[in-house]
Symmetry: D2
Subunit: 326 residues, 4 copies
């Protein structure tokens, strides 16, 4: 009954036109679809209809984080598990999201709205300016904007990292890969994956202890050089850099954190380790080397990085009541 991979995120913004310019021109994502309240975006080698939904709201916010299950039966299996554990959940009908089949919505214990789905339109460009004859290119490599290759991971911030990680591992079956833990046993962060990526989702400690938030959604770039190019583009064209370029010693990946015009944090990320051993034991970092784990080149995250995020937008604003157990 495992999850196959991270699917997409949904972010709220206050200005859809500004977001469109920023996400499609500056960041170089493709708008594969849209309706009156949302843009459906994807990176050039994302196979699915969308890996990011940008929805009109009253400011920054998290709609949901979505995972694809591994089999057509996966949704029903998770629904039964949720019932057995009395985890509230809601069914969304096919088409509730453009391009997507039926979906199952639920929240993590610390309030992060999530979704499971199986059916999703596979996207291929048909516009001659974008369509590629290469079977492995859903569209041509773009000449515009930062142009990341694919979605990489989501990162959430919660009051209690260990509890959230254990729930995600136990209920969703996403393996614990590495973590930072103080000598008193307090967990600072945990990174988890169900694929060979070093993490599909990270859980970080919220220093303000004001509840669960999205910390960032990350896209993957093909090289450190492209990441530096991205830093210059974003700095010059209306983005706001927060931290980086730096290199996480934990994963070995090179990072850049920045904000969209509504204040949602995004990450560009490249390189680092993949994880193949079937008997992998989560690696423990203590906070001392954990500081270098943050950036092996020596910078420290700004204060904003340790508490600021996109709060979940309440479910009632997001969708009609479904047929879940609650």
């Amino acid at each position: 009954m495992p999850i196959a991979h991270l699917g997409h995120g949904e972010l709220y913004v206050d200005d859809l036109a500004a977001a469109r310019h920023y996400y499609t021109e500056v960041l170089g994502l493709t708008c594969s679809d849209e309706d009156q309240t949302a843009l459906y975006l994807r990176a050039w080698q994302d196979w699915e209809h969308h890996t990011l939904i940008i929805r009109k709201g009253a400011g920054r916010g998290l709609g949901h984080i979505s995972w694809r299950v591994s089999t057509p039966e996966g949704l029903e299996e998770y629904a039964r598990l949720f019932e057995a554990r009395a985890i509230p959940h809601t069914w969304l009908p096919k088409g509730h999201e453009l391009g997507q089949g039926e979906a199952l919505r639920f929240s993590t214990p610390q309030g992060l709205p999530m979704e499971l789905y199986w059916e999703m339109v596979t996207w291929r460009a048909t516009d001659p300016a974008r369509s590629s004859v290469y079977p492995s290119f859903p569209e041509k490599f773009p000449y515009r904007g930062v142009a990341p290759r694919r979605i990489d991971h989501a990162n959430i911030m919660v009051n209690d990292v260990a509890a959230e990680q254990q729930w995600i591992s136990e209920v969703l079956g996403i393996k614990h890969r590495y973590y930072v833990e103080r000598s008193d046993g307090k967990r600072q962060g945990s990174w988890l994956s169900v694929t060979n990526l070093s993490h599909d989702i990270a859980v970080m400690h919220n220093e303000h202890q004001d509840g669960g938030k999205l910390h960032h959604q990350a896209y993957y770039l093909d090289s450190p050089d492209e990441l530096l190019r991205a830093a210059t583009i974003i700095a010059q064209h209306g983005g706001r850099l927060e931290w980086g370029p730096g290199r996480h010693a934990t994963s070995g990946a090179t990072f850049l954190y920045f904000f969209d015009p509504s204040g949602n944090r995004l990450e560009l990320w490249t390189g680092g380790m993949l994880i193949f051993p079937p008997d992998w034991q989560a690696l423990r970092w203590n906070p001392e080397i954990g500081r270098e784990g943050f950036d092996m080149w020596g910078t420290r995250p700004p204060a904003s990085y340790l508490s600021y995020g996109s709060p979940p937008v309440t479910a009632t604003r997001q969708y009609e009541e479904g047929d879940g157990v609650a």
Copy 2:
């Protein structure tokens, strides 16, 4: 009963001292162990004791290609499968290879010697010049040589691609990811993986039709820029470049093919796609776009690339008779 990932390759060379200089100084692999006839090598972030064995022989050659199974029971399960299918196989005792537990040897239908194993020593540098305090760094990032991050894939050349691919998929459970097929149905090449890599093993058409060979073993670099640096280093320090730098349109990865001093072909490879969809259907490339699949920047492989390889070294030269079904 699946395989977890590619483990290592074993190559024969005629001059072990020349190989040591080339593999450790120029290519920057670490010699983690050795005995009188072989060097055990690994890339700086390979977790296992070795991902390449260089063995003294009478010239270039393939010893075996090795895969790690997913569970401790995996070896027995494969042995039963081999017996059920009357596939000859041999048990090797723990320690037959340094650092490795019991192993199961067999050959593919077209004669490529392979191995399955579960137990393998996890390597960490203890030498202060190499050891790292970072839990995710088996050793420090090296300042010497090309210094790839990790093993990536193996590539074999056979008389009948389709038959070999089907056997590998059916018996070993390694999924078919993409292939090149002529309009008359003749298969030119197939790429397979059990991980999220675009391929853990490739099977290519041998134009000379003189049997199965190793085409190359590949290591992964973190960036195209490091690959160009590698090309210059190899060209200036005793290696021989065959083809590249180029970019395969099939995978999107940037490649460089070259030889070791005994004539075994190696590849350095970076970037390209990972494959996450659980319902992935193998992508078909026809030979016309397949030409661009070879190199989307327009170069053509030299003739050597289509027929030359490292032939398997006969089993009797490799190990004592075991207890296999045959």
Copy 3:
């Protein structure tokens, strides 16, 4: 009386609309000005009004190659030198080219039309989407297209390399930096500069011996990684790659040759040596190592590279009769 640096080139094309899309969108040059028959283009950090003029013609062709003199008096001094040597030349009035002052046109012995100028408008973006507050950024770093940093050099192809090089060195004062010479003394190519660049202009042997042509105009990129990105963009978006990526051993620079839609050859180029010694002696490459001088990674130039170019468009098509000595 020296020349200060290469200024710009003028290329003929058959389709101005196709050229506009290619040069501004795909290559990412800025169109700083235009009139009914020509586009004036520059790279994002070119300070001058233009470094490339694309002019409507009947097909590919070279208009002229232009150099900036070092002092306001330089034009008159060159005019006197041309008179003393009976070199035909023509004065063009200010504004003949948009943004440029008075200019002096002449031809090299083998028929390459050239120009000298002193006055040129310094360009700065005023459009808010492009203008930068940084004094050293004539415009923001662009997020569109290949986006080279600056013009680098011109390369011409002639019947007699040694004679053309000597004339350029003697009359124009551009120093000889390195050359390839056969054992029988035949010159295959010469590279010259008046700046610290390894060459501002190259002179190559025309294998067809059909007269002087422009071989290519080159723009500079900041990294090899950007050059590989450019190769993919050009291959996917209507350009035609001819040769590369490769690395010239002569200069150490990484190269990519390709064509515009009308068949003019362009180069993208990055890295390699600068030349600082005041007593530099031109380096001689013999053809054997000269083969590696072409590409130290081992590729060979295609046949087209050794003879194809953009022929000069006759003067009468280019400008009205002037007041030159002839």
Copy 4:
């Protein structure tokens, strides 16, 4: 009578053996020569016998900064100028520095010891492991260490930037290229060059006002990707990073500052602008955009960067009394 280019620097260290390991193995410079008290080092494409002298002393310190003059007569011409201006100077005999001819030592007004020379041995590797058949490669591209291409610039820190810059421009003929100036007219930094580099020497404000020091000597790398690789190598192998990777908006170059084991600051630097216009006017940055001039990606220099440096080692410790005017 102009200077041709920056030649070399001389740094004092407290431990020559530690310095040798760091400079040759980790940084990948070549030790071209040595005597009992000093190592003579150069980058792989530096043509001269040395571009850095590391001398045994009592701790970090600056010996001198050295410039090559443009003609054989240049030294005498500068000596006459110094006499005319009553600038104390000293002649050093040929061989005082290994590989170098006669030299003229003097100090800037704020106490930075400098040197002029004409004769210098051109170095080529003869050791087969390093020697290259390429005329433009003084040695093969190294596979060891950071391996920068060439010396780039020197940077000094003084109490009065404007006065020091004016003296260097007036007396040494090195042109003023760009500067940061407060609204009250106080100069924060000035960058000067006699070549097409954006600067051969920089002069920065010493916040502690404790006199002239060397801020750093810089070497050039071929790409931002190599600079990130260098950051990881230095952080892992005994160096200490101070600031970066970042990108100076002023020059557009990507930077990394770090220390040698004795505490001398070094810089690795890549890309950015070259300056070609013969009528270049120094660009003024005000401190507001000057903050971005420091790093357009938004980091701020640490406090150490604004005051710490390598103080000049007194002349008497450096060389015997010469025949200068004083």
